[in-house]
Structure formats: C-alpha cells, structure tokens
Point group: C2
Chain length 237, copies 2
C-alpha cells in the first residue's frame, strides 16, 4: 500500500504497483486492496508500495507480491509493464510508479487484510472504482496480457500443472473475452514446438470425454503466434 504519512512536496518518490491477474471460474480477476486511509479512503487500489533503498524495482515488486499473497515469486510470472508519471497522479506528492504485470494460476485467497480478488469486468464497466490512475494502469496491463497470449507461452502460467488443452483454451477465452474453436485451438497448441509436454496421464472430468494431461514445455515463445483477428480485437472491451 501507498504510505500513510504526508510527503515533502518537493521530494520525488518511486513506487511499484502490481496488476496480478488470475482466472477463477469463468472470470478474469485482479488482486485489489481496499484503502484504509485518505486519499481515496474506501476505494480500491492496486497493491503496491515505495521502493526501498538498495532494492531494484523487480525486488520491490516481488516483496509486495509476498506481502499481499504470501506467494513466492516462483509460481507467479512478473514482468515490468511501464512507468506512470503524471505529476498530479497522487495528491500527496510527486510519485512516479512503475507498474508490473503478474500472472498466476488460480491463486489462494490473499493473506493481507482488505485484499481480495475482484473481477476485471467490474472495473472496466465502472462497478468497482479504483483510486489514483489505477484503472488506466489495469487497462494497460490487460492489453499487455492479451498481447502476450498471442506471442508467448505464458497462458500456461495461468494453469496449475498438470492441465488439459481445454483448461488452456479457457484461459485464452477468459482473457481475450471471446470463444475459440476447440478443434483449431488444439491443432495449434499441440503442434507448437515445446509448448505442451504430454504426461501420458488422463483426467476424468465430471462430464465429457477424458482429456490428456500436459505440463508446460520449455518454449517461451509461440511460433507462429496465435493472433486475434482484427474483428475480435475490436469486439471485446
């Protein structure tokens, strides 16, 4: 959380803010904390805090992640998004923040009090109001996540291992916001080099045919990429 004390208006502070996405059920969720102090008391905000002396931005982001979710960085993919620097973005003083995008499999309930998973749609459609410029940061993070699904293999980071092709497809559908053809999706994913590693096991779901189980392969990039059509890109919010 952003500190509680007033700040020298001349001073320049640097913070990190985290957009942690996870897929729960059929919804994309982000980790938000309810603010206990002014400004924006009672509103929601992205988890984050000031960068400490001797700490890199990556280390600060990992520390905040641990404080809010009690997760080591091993299970969550964290990457720098960009810096936000509007002089009046924080009414307490000059704070430049570096946003991080985090992705993880259906994560446990956050440990921090007042922290909770919130559907991203609630923010996009105005049902949940975010403090500061955090709504804009969240939108940028969502767009980055959607683009990353096209070119990289991070979608598998959303899935607890082992997982089925259907589970992986649901990640794409939830993050992108539209349905994919199951058959074409399977062809694409199973033929991609080192994306999926078959375990040989099967999973027997409550309904439907048993599905083969996979583990994440070694590939970091999906070549050729799986591009959203221009039409689909425009259709979703």
């Amino acid at each position: 959380m952003i500190g509680t004390t007033g700040r020298d208006p001349e001073a320049l502070a640097v913070s990190v803010d985290l957009v942690i996405f996870t897929v729960r059920g059929d919804e994309l969720n982000a980790l938000l904390v309810e603010r206990g102090n002014e400004p924006y008391r009672g509103a929601c905000a992205l988890p984050g805090g000031y960068v400490r002396a001797g700490e890199t931005l990556d280390q600060a982001a990992l520390r905040e992640l641990r404080e809010e979710t009690s997760l080591d960085g091993g299970r969550v993919h964290l990457e720098q998004l960009r810096a936000y620097s509007e002089p009046d973005r924080d009414p307490r003083g000059r704070v430049i923040t570096v946003a991080y995008l985090g992705l993880g499999p259906d994560l446990p309930r956050p440990v921090a009090p007042r922290a909770a998973w919130t559907p991203v749609a609630d923010v996009l459609e105005g049902r949940t109001v975010l403090a500061f410029d955090h709504a804009g940061i969240l939108r940028d993070a969502l767009e980055r996540a959607r683009t990353q699904l096209e070119h990289t293999t991070i979608a598998a980071r959303f899935c607890p291992e082992p997982f089925t092709v259907g589970e992986l497809r649901r990640i794409y559908e939830v993050v992108w916001g539209f349905k994919l053809d199951p058959s074409n999706f399977r062809r694409k994913m199973t033929r991609a080099e080192a994306f999926l590693e078959p375990t040989g096991e099967q999973r027997f779901p409550e309904v439907g045919r048993p599905a083969a189980l996979y583990r994440r392969g070694s590939a970091r990039y999906l070549v050729p990429p799986l591009l959203r059509s221009a039409a689909a890109r425009d259709a979703c919010p």
Copy 2:
C-alpha cells in the same frame, strides 16, 4: 547529460535516457554523447537527464530530445521502453532511469557539442564502449525496434516523405540485419491496409528504374504482421 554535482546517497533520483535510432547510409545509428565529467569521463553515453519537478517522463524525454538534436517531437517517434533500477548502476548514487526509444528519418547533425551519430554495430561489437548500463539499454531498445517493425508501421517513420518501397525495405534490412526479397516485400507492403499512400509521383534515381513515391498511411499496425523467421532472428546479433 547526467548532472555534475555529487548527490546525497540516501536520495532517490529519476532520470530519462534516450535511445534515438536513425538510418544513415546502410547503417543503423544511435545518438551518443561523449561524457565530459566523471564517472566514465571520455566514454560515450545515451543522452538523458534528470526529471524535473512538475514534468512527466514523456515531457522530460521530449525536452532532452530538443536539447540534443534541436528537433521538435513532431518528426521523431518516442515511446517508453522500460525502467532500469539496479542500485549500483550509477556510482554517484541511487538513480532509477526510464529509457525511451526514439525513431526518426535521417536526422540532422546533433546541435549539442560532443553529441554524434554512432553506428550501433560499433557498440554491439565492443568498438565503442558505453558508460553505466547503457550498452544493455541500447540492446533492449534495438530488440524492441526490431519487434516493432514486425507489428507496426513505424518503419515509415524512418523515411523522409515522400519515399519509395525500396527505401522502406532498406529500413527493414538495416534494422533487422539481413536482406529481404524485394518482390515479396513490395507485395506485402502495398497490400497492407493504409500503410502506404501513393502520391502518384515518381522518383528518378541515379541508377535503376524510376520508383513510385508514397506517403505514410493512417494505419498504425501492420496486419497481418511481417514476422522475421526464427532462423533469421537467431542469425543476426
């Protein structure tokens, strides 16, 4: 340039550093300044400086651009690359820097003394040594520029208008570091929606057949993208 005075080791400063690329002849060049002060006196560095009070990062980057090249932002495409935050990246104290990637057509000689266009290859191959972590920043910027050429229409920002398809192709070849098939390249570019806008004029070069002239179209993205093959990606440095 980075300031000349010593700094309080407890304080945290934020700077911007600019990687400005331009194509001159058959080489990709970056704008570098020779350092007149310690540390790294005599070495080259990226242009940059501290962010001032009340200034966004974008504004700081534009101001530095003007100071070094006397160019308004209109002719140069500037975008944020990422932040660099290793605590010991600057021996004078804690400085977090946000790097910007800039692209422009064959730009005039820089106005600032000790500033000069330098072939990027000289840096990559160690003939030119950069101060701080600037060599790493330059490599990251080059990789970003290469990726941007695949998905966006920024390559045209390297070309003074009006330009020919051959000139545009040379941009790709110089930035990517390998040759492209002229015929296939033309097909791809002229069929891309709103990338090239024919002027109807022709240019008569010293040698070879006259070429049709184009202006930048309104499209910002190149769909479908023009992807480097995995082989080509690995081949170039």
